[in-house]
Symmetry: C2
Subunit: 191 residues, 2 copies
């Protein structure tokens, strides 16, 4: 295992024109998938156990706002306890009823979500869910990615990435091998 | 009882029913793409320079046979010098003329290529090219993967992975951070 880190001086700053940073924190298969097509995550959670929470707790400690899509919201809503206690949660959905759940705020479009984050004001925004991550990436609203590769190829499923208006150049910050053969890399989006 | 020494590690042994191992050695973007849709590799080669050949020379030294698709063959054929000197090269293609190039042997199907490798006999087989890798993976003919992630998201392009008849469980062997922020991980397919 080799691991090294870049200096963290610019890490906490927001990019020009925004006072918040967008964060992605994903577990994925080596073939780059974050869920099977039916939403199943068993292949991920079973292999992830050895690595504990793989840095999720300290990552979440810095987060004040989340933006998730409808699918992620429905998944999380079914959990025994609400995992986003104390965070502002925006759900990006055209169909979810406004006020259906007092723990979240429903936004109809990416522009509306960005306006809400700008107004909040938000500082550290965790963006989650395949299509939501892809839209934020495409709009240049993601600044940091933590990607944890679980040692399996599942062949078919949901990708968090998609077409981009232009390449997103990344700065490699660190890579760590976690128990169970998970490989966790952190990148910063270079502008 | 015949006397023979056991292999020093399982790494050098062939899987049951085959006397050759299939190897993948890929440079890819962080979003898992190996080329743009038009075949462009500039995003990869420009960022890869800092890492030298990223272990390609020692990797190739052990290879006796290659299997590539038509697209990879055409790309390589355009190089100033033939990079596969001294190796047996099989091209998987329905359309390429048999005997068009004395440096390669054209095979019409995966089954024909496997029969040729079995007969050769081959030992260390480098499988390259998006669709060719996907077919070999799907048929359970890949044993080792070396994946080098170049720090960029390109959004759209060619993936070497695709639907699989079942999950391919991987054993993480090593991860190294190379100059330029490239992250190289080696995996063995577990059977």
């Amino acid at each position: 295992m080799t691991s090294h880190s870049a200096p963290s001086s610019t890490e906490s700053g927001a990019p020009p024109g925004r006072h918040w940073r967008g964060y992605v924190f994903l577990g994925m298969s080596v073939d780059g998938l974050i869920a099977r097509n039916d939403g199943d995550l068993g292949w991920l959670t079973s292999r992830g156990e050895a690595a504990g929470d793989a840095g999720y707790t300290p990552f979440m400690a810095q987060i004040d706002h989340l933006v998730v899509g409808r699918t992620t919201y429905e998944t999380v809503r079914a959990f025994e306890s609400w995992p986003y206690e104390g965070k502002q949660v925006l759900v990006l959905s055209r169909s979810l009823d406004d006020g259906a759940d007092p723990r979240v705020r429903v936004l109809r479009s990416l522009d509306d979500a960005v306006a809400a984050l700008d107004h909040a004001p938000a500082h550290h925004v965790y963006v989650d869910g395949g299509r939501t991550i892809a839209s934020f990436l495409g709009a240049g609203l993601i600044d940091d990615l933590t990607l944890t590769r679980v040692p399996v190829l599942i062949g078919d499923g949901v990708t968090p990435f998609g077409a981009l208006p232009h390449d997103a150049d990344l700065l490699h910050l660190s890579t760590e091998v976690l128990p169970g053969g998970l490989v966790q890399s952190r990148y910063r989006v270079v502008r």
